[in-house]
């Protein structure tokens, strides 16, 4: 686990403080936008575990994100609030089991194969929900009531309230960050990092590499499920698009933009990506072209890959270490 350098730590803490205080401004639009970004940050951190730490480039991570949302939608009664204590563990466990089943198959492959096969399995799930009646076809399913969060009869948070939901997501964001830090500092996490650095050597040391990879894949899947569950709660519906491979590409892009192998890089990337996307589609600046934000986004992605392959977190670290070399961002 790489510790953030001091300057990054200060910036992250400042960012966290502003996130904690933001709902006081009362701007519903931005509260919802930030909630969405924090959900994507959880999603990107889960991907970091397998891409950034274990070295498994998955292009099918949206399968777990979307599946958890569907589990919530399918297990919830139509007009009645279900308990979060019950549905969240069920969604995450079901997603973990799915990740186990897919992982056993896809981890037999490596490299380019792994990329394509993860993509193909995600697509299979997409068609399962798109073509059959199981999940309402291409229209998806509406969640008429948000899950409830209560102890006994005392309601802790009202999840239909934007600010309440915001704080719940923020709490989950921090929890996932510290959970993954613990995991990565453990012997299990050290082996994962070893697999990325030199798989053959880790195998020669006597570790069952496959089992470690599978463990990471399942944990990443379950955490992506957490993000998907929260997204389904926020938007109040699920449809096959949340399983589409575009989502997998976008979350991978967030991870690279922020800087992989750091966890907080994934968070920075999620914020930067969504804010850039919002900027490109902002009519006051781009006028007519705002509708064409995808074009600018595509160009932006190409430029990031060419000019900033290590991501923003790396840029910040260098700026902190050697202030004079701030411009050398290769």
């Amino acid at each position: 686990m790489r510790e953030p350098p001091n300057i990054t730590r200060v910036l992250l803490l400042l960012g966290l403080a502003s996130l904690a205080l933001f709902p006081l401004t009362g701007s519903t639009f931005y509260i919802q936008l930030l909630t969405k970004i924090m959900i994507m940050a959880i999603f990107a951190m889960s991907l970091d575990l397998i891409v950034g730490y274990t070295g498994l480039v998955s292009l099918g991570h949206s399968a777990f994100f979307g599946f958890a949302g569907y589990v919530l939608a399918l297990t919830a009664p139509r007009y009645e609030a279900v308990s979060l204590w019950l549905t969240l563990p069920v969604s995450m466990a079901a997603t973990g089991i799915l990740a186990l089943a897919i992982g056993v198959l896809v981890l037999r492959t490596a490299g380019i194969y792994f990329i394509m096969v993860t993509l193909a399995f995600a697509q299979m799930l997409y068609y399962l929900f798109h073509d059959t009646k199981l999940g309402g076809g291409s229209d998806g399913i509406y969640l008429h009531a948000r899950p409830s969060l209560a102890i006994g009869d005392i309601s802790l948070l009202n999840l239909a309230n934007h600010a309440h939901f915001y704080y719940l997501v923020l709490a989950f964001l921090l929890a996932v960050y510290f959970l993954l830090r613990q995991v990565l500092a453990s012997p299990f996490g050290r082996v994962l990092v070893g697999i990325k650095a030199n798989e053959a050597r880790v195998r020669a040391l006597g570790f069952q590499v496959f089992n470690y990879k599978l463990g990471a894949f399942v944990l990443a899947g379950a955490l992506a499920g957490l993000a998907g569950y929260l997204a389904a709660c926020q938007f109040g519906f699920v449809n096959p698009e949340i399983l589409s491979w575009h989502y997998s590409g976008v979350v991978l892009m967030m991870l690279i933009l922020g800087g992989m192998g750091r966890l907080y890089g994934a968070v920075i990337g999620a914020f930067a990506f969504v804010l850039v996307q919002e900027l490109f589609s902002y009519q006051d600046i781009f006028g007519e072209y705002a509708k064409r934000w995808q074009l600018a986004m595509g160009g932006f992605i190409v430029l990031v890959v060419l000019l900033l392959p290590r991501g923003l977190a790396d840029l910040m670290e260098r700026a902190g270490r050697r202030p004079e070399s701030e411009s050398a961002n290769g």
Binding site: V57, M253, I256
Partner: protein, 285 residues
């Protein structure tokens, strides 16, 4: 008889997939680049056919012009962007070509809008062969199959029997050694990439009269092509052919027999092959 028609449709679809997948598998096998934008080239081809056929009034004129344009696009992309990815992790190849997909989709939307367009079948091929009193088979589909087969044969001949094919195979098995022996690897890579783009675009062009042209058509077929490459084995043209036919027939029959689950059929096939042979059916040749 209806079964025969479905089989013929499956073969035609499979052969079309082969054109796409062979370019994809060559780019993987020889250059080590994973190209998500391959489906976009298919779409570019289809829209070129639509546009050029409308302007020139003939698909026969549209085809050669379209091929020249797509080769130019391929050379341009390779020298401007793809070239910078050879030494980089697959991760960056995925992302850059993902960015290209967004650009191509949006350009398509700006230039042609979001409507579905039809491309007329050339009059010379616009008739059907009667099979029974009520069933018949369109000649244009047979034409597609024929063209794809001829191209497959030509591809095989070029790779196995000619000097340039020898260089391609040498570059495939050992890049450094081939370079030391005097093969101009950068030029070879440009050619292979442009050729792959042209094959995909050509597939889009000849398929356009049957499938019509519509937004997102490239992404849909891209992932099927990945499945073909995974099943066939990366870098193997022979594998691409076998897998493409397998997928083509499985998909077409699936649509007839189990319409709700046909979208999944090809992926189940892939899962089965993965359990059996994780490296695909064939080794690269």
């Amino acid at each position: 008889m209806e079964f025969l028609i479905q089989i013929l449709n499956g073969i035609q679809y499979g052969l079309l997939l082969f054109l796409l997948a062979s370019g994809l598998t060559l780019i993987f096998g020889i250059m080590g680049v994973i190209n998500l934008a391959h489906g976009s080239f298919y779409m570019v081809g289809a829209y070129l056919a639509y546009w050029l056929a409308r302007e020139t009034g003939s698909l026969w004129l549209a085809l050669p012009i379209g091929v020249v344009i797509s080769i130019a696009i391929g050379v341009l992309l390779e020298s401007a962007l793809i070239r910078r990815l050879y030494q980089r992790d697959h991760l960056y190849q995925v992302l850059l070509t993902f960015g290209l997909i967004l650009i191509f989709e949006e350009l398509r939307s700006i230039l042609f809008g979001n409507d579905v367009h039809g491309v007329p079948i050339p009059p010379a091929l616009n008739f059907s062969i009667p099979l029974t009193e009520t069933l018949s088979y369109p000649v244009y589909r047979l034409f597609i199959s024929g063209v794809c087969l001829a191209l497959a044969a030509a591809l095989y001949f070029v790779i196995q029997k000619t000097r340039i094919g020898m260089m391609v195979r040498a570059g495939n098995s050992n890049r450094e050694m081939a370079q030391v022996l005097g093969v101009n690897i950068p030029l070879l890579y440009t050619l292979v990439f442009a050729f792959g783009v042209a094959l995909a675009a050509f597939a889009g062009m000849i398929a356009a009269p049957v499938s019509s042209v519509f937004p997102g058509m490239g992404n849909q077929i891209l992932i099927i092509c990945f499945v073909v490459v995974v099943i066939g084995g990366i870098g193997s043209i022979k594998g691409a052919m076998v897998a493409a036919l397998l997928i083509g027939i499985a998909d077409t029959l699936g649509k007839v027999l189990l319409p709700e689950y046909s979208g999944m059929a090809v992926y189940l096939l892939m899962a089965a092959v993965l359990i059996w042979r994780p490296q695909g059916l064939f080794q690269a040749t």
